[in-house]
C-alpha cells in the first residue's frame, strides 16, 4: 500500500464516493450507532405518531376509566342495537352492551396477552438463537430443523390446534391458553435473527481477538455479540407484539381464544359479524381500535428499524 493509499484510506471511504454525509458527520463528532439512530428517530413523524398511539393504548389498558367509559358488563337486552346515549357514545350491541365501554376495556386483554406472549417468545428466541448461533454444530442443526418443523405448519393453524388443546377447561377465560400458544409459536423469527447476527458477529475480527484474549463464551456473548444484535432483536419483538395482538383477536374471533365473559375486540367483531347488514357499528368500532393498535406497534418497530438501518433510505 502506497502512502497515497494510506492517506486516502484515512481520509474517507474508498472508491471516491462523492460525499458521505453520515460519514462526514461522524468524523466531525464521533457518535454511536444508537446515537445516530436516535437523532434520526427524533425527526421521524412515523415514530412520534406511533409513540403517541402506543401511549394512549397503554393508558387505556391501565386506566380505562380515564376515557369516561361506562361499565362494559352492564348489558340490557332491551337496548339491543340502541342508539348512543350518555357515556355510551357509540351505541349498544345486540346484547345491549355499551359498545364504547367494551371497546375501551378491550385494550387491557389485548395488551396483556400480547406483551406476555412476546416476552415468552423473546426469551425462547434469545436462548435458542444464541446457543444455535454460538455453538453451531449438532445443536444448531437440531434447533434449525426444529424451527423448520414449526414453520412447516401454517401459523394460524398451529395456533388454533394448540389453543384448542390448551383451553380444554371450560371455566377458564382463555387468557393463559392464548398467551402460551402465541408465546410458544412466535419465537422462530426472533431466534433466526439472533442466530444469524451471532454467526455474523462471531466471525468478526474483534470477537476473535476477544476470544484469543481469553474471554469465555458467556462474556463474549454479553459484551461483544449481544449489543450488536439488540437493535434488530427489539425491532422484531416490537413488530411481534403487534402481530400477537392481531393473532389474539383472530383466535378470539374464531372462538378459541378468549371466551366466557372476557372482553376482547376479537369476540366483539365476531359477534357483530352476524348483524353486519343491520347494525355495522358494533363491528366497525372494535375493528378500528384493533387495527390502530396493531398499526401503532408495527409502525414503532418500522421506524426504529429504519433508524438503525440507514441503508434503505
Amino acid at each position: 500500500m502506497s502512502d497515497l493509499e494510506a492517506v486516502a484510506a484515512a481520509a474517507g471511504p474508498s472508491g471516491e464516493a462523492p460525499v458521505q454525509p453520515r460519514h462526514k458527520s461522524k468524523t466531525d463528532k464521533p457518535r454511536s450507532l444508537a446515537g445516530d439512530a436516535w437523532i434520526d428517530l427524533r425527526k421521524s413523524k412515523i415514530f412520534w405518531t406511533a409513540a403517541v398511539l402506543v401511549l394512549i393504548i397503554v393508558l387505556m389498558a391501565l386506566f380505562p376509566s380515564l376515557f369516561g367509559a361506562g361499565n362494559p358488563r352492564e348489558c340490557i337486552l332491551a337496548r339491543q342495537h340502541g342508539a348512543a346515549s350518555g357515556s355510551a357514545i357509540l351505541g349498544y350491541d345486540y346484547q345491549g352492551c355499551d359498545v364504547y365501554a367494551k371497546t375501551i376495556y378491550g385494550a387491557r386483554n389485548s395488551l396483556q396477552v400480547g406483551l406476555l406472549a412476546t416476552l415468552i417468545s423473546g426469551v425462547i428466541g434469545l436462548i435458542f438463537g444464541l446457543s444455535a448461533g454460538y455453538f453451531g454444530g449438532w445443536l444448531d442443526a437440531i434447533l434449525s430443523r426444529f424451527i423448520d418443523v414449526v414453520l412447516g405448519i401454517p401459523f394460524l393453524l398451529a395456533a388454533i390446534v394448540l389453543a384448542k388443546r390448551l383451553s380444554a377447561d371450560p371455566n377458564s377465560n382463555g387468557v393463559l391458553a392464548v398467551t402460551i400458544t402465541l408465546g410458544v409459536l412466535g419465537w422462530t423469527t426472533a431466534a433466526r435473527i439472533m442466530r444469524s447476527s451471532v454467526i455474523a458477529s462471531k466471525n468478526q475480527d474483534y470477537v476473535a481477538a476477544a476470544r484469543m484474549l481469553g474471554s469465555g463464551p458467556a462474556r463474549l456473548m454479553m459484551r461483544h455479540i449481544l449489543p450488536n444484535s439488540t437493535a434488530s432483536f427489539i425491532v422484531v419483538l416490537t413488530i411481534l407484539l403487534g402481530t400477537n395482538i392481531a393473532s389474539e383477536a383472530t383466535l378470539s374471533y374464531l372462538g378459541i381464544g378468549l371466551k366466557g365473559d372476557a372482553i376482547s375486540w376479537g369476540i366483539s367483531i365476531s359477534e357483530a359479524g352476524a348483524f353486519v347488514r343491520t347494525a355495522p357499528g358494533p363491528l366497525i368500532w372494535p375493528s378500528i381500535f384493533l387495527a390502530v393498535t396493531v398499526l401503532a406497534f408495527i409502525m414503532l418497530g418500522d421506524a426504529v428499524r429504519d433508524a438503525f438501518d440507514p441503508k434503505l433510505r
Binding site: D3, L4, V7, A8, P18, V19
Partner: protein, 343 residues
C-alpha cells in the same frame, strides 16, 4: 475503423478536424440534505487521438466524478453539472438531449470501471452483456451478436472464448473479468476510452498484463485514453501527459517527463516525493501532511494552502491561483510555480 464508423454515425455536426475531447471549466456539485459538496471546480484538459492522459489524485479529489460527468452517467440527483463544457469533436455533449447523449456512450466514448465483479451484472452471462451492445446499438441478431462477442473476447485474449461466452461474471478470475470489461468498452469501437482505476482491484502481476493489453489495444485503434488512477507507477509507464487533480481542480497539467523530472505544483511535487524508492532506502519517506479538504468546506484561495510548504498570504485569499502557463502545453495553478520548479 473510422470509415465504418462514419457510415453508422448517429450524430450530425461532429467535426472530424476538431480536437477529439476537450473539457473546459467543468463544475460538478452534489446537493445533499447536509449541504452542497463541490466535487469538481473547473476541470480543464484536452485529449488527442492515440494519446494517454492520466488523471492523478487522492481519493475524493474529483477524478471519478469528472469521468462520470464526461460520460453523462452522474447520479442525478444529487449530482449536477453546473458549469463548463465537454466537447467531443467540436460538439458540446452537455448541451445534447439525453437520447443523443446516450448514443454517444459506448459508440464514441466508453468507460471501464475499477471493480469488474460489481460492475458486471451478476445474473447475465458475459455473452449476453456483450451481445446486448451489438443488438441494441447495431440492431444485430442474437447469432451475429454472439459471433462478434466471441471475436471480442479473443481480442482481449481470453482463452477459449467460445466456451466461456456462456459463463457468468463470478465464474471468471479478477484479471479475466477486467478483460471482459475492456471487451465491453471496446465493442463499438469508441474513439475515447476512460479507464477508472482499471487495475486497482487486481494483483500486481495481473495489473501489468491488463495495462499492457490496454496500451496495445489503444495503439491498434488509435484511441484517446483517459486513465484515472492514484498509482504513480502505472502512470509513469503508460501516460503521455498527466493532469494532477486536487479538491476538484486540475492543479498541474504537463507531459509525463516534465512532471516527473521537475514538478511545478507543490502538490504534484509532494505526491512524487511520497513514492518509496529503492535508492532512498533507509531514509525518511516524505508524506503529505494533513488530509484533503472536505468538499463541503474547501479553503479560500488555493485549496492546497493548509498543507503547502510554499504557502504565503496570497495563497489564503481568493481568487485562487489561475492556471499559469509554465511552458507550451503545460500549466500549474500555483503562484510560486517558479520556486517549486526551480529547486
Amino acid at each position: 475503423m473510422t470509415d465504418i464508423k462514419a457510415e453508422i454515425d448517429v450524430l450530425p455536426g461532429l467535426d472530424p478536424h476538431a480536437p477529439l475531447l476537450e473539457v473546459n471549466n467543468l463544475h460538478v456539485e452534489f446537493r445533499t440534505q447536509y449541504g452542497v459538496a463541490r466535487a469538481v471546480n473547473g476541470a480543464n484538459f484536452r485529449l488527442a487521438p492515440g494519446e494517454t492522459l492520466a488523471i492523478l489524485g487522492e481519493s475524493g479529489c474529483g477524478k471519478s466524478v469528472t469521468a462520470q460527468a464526461i460520460m453523462g452517467i452522474l447520479d442525478s440527483p444529487p449530482g449536477f453539472v453546473t458549469q463548463g463544457e465537454v466537447k467531443y469533436r467540436g460538439t458540446d455533449l452537455l448541451k445534447l438531449p439525453e437520447n443523443q447523449r446516450r448514443k454517444m456512450r459506448a459508440n464514441h466514448i466508453a468507460m471501464i470501471f475499477q471493480d469488474a465483479l460489481s460492475a458486471l451484472n451478476p445474473v447475465f452471462t458475459v455473452g449476453y452483456q456483450l451481445g446486448e451492445l451489438f443488438r441494441k446499438h447495431r440492431g444485430m441478431s442474437r447469432a451475429d451478436a454472439k459471433k462478434r462477442s466471441i471475436e471480442l473476447l479473443d481480442q482481449v485474449k481470453i482463452p477459449a472464448a467460445k466456451a466461456r461466452i456462456g459463463d457468468y461474471p463470478h465464474q471468471f478470475s479478477g484479471g479475466m473479468r477486467q478483460r471482459v470489461m475492456i471487451a465491453m468498452a471496446l465493442a463499438l469501437d469508441p474513439e475515447v476510452l476512460i479507464a477508472d482505476e482499471p487495475t486497482t482491484a487486481l494483483d500486481v502481476t495481473v495489473q501489468a498484463q491488463i495495462m499492457g493489453l490496454l496500451a496495445e489495444l489503444q495503439q491498434q485503434r488509435n484511441m484517446g485514453l483517459i486513465l484515472i488512477t492514484h498509482d504513480m507507477g502505472v502512470v509513469a509507464d503508460v501516460a503521455d501527459r498527466i493532469s494532477v487533480m486536487y479538491a476538484g481542480k486540475v492543479v498541474e497539467e504537463a507531459g509525463v517527463y516534465d512532471i516527473y523530472s521537475r514538478p511545478a505544483h507543490p502538490y504534484a511535487k509532494a505526491l512524487l516525493e511520497s513514492i518509496p524508492r529503492l535508492d532512498m532506502k533507509g531514509q525518511q519517506l516524505n508524506v503529505i501532511r494533513g488530509l484533503p479538504p472536505a468538499l463541503t468546506a474547501i479553503p479560500q484561495g488555493c485549496a492546497f494552502n493548509p498543507r503547502c510548504a510554499y504557502a504565503q498570504d496570497v495563497c489564503r485569499q481568493d481568487p485562487p491561483p489561475p492556471p499559469y502557463a509554465v511552458a507550451p502545453g503545460r500549466t500549474a495553478r500555483c503562484h510560486f510555480w517558479r520556486d517549486v520548479i526551480g529547486e
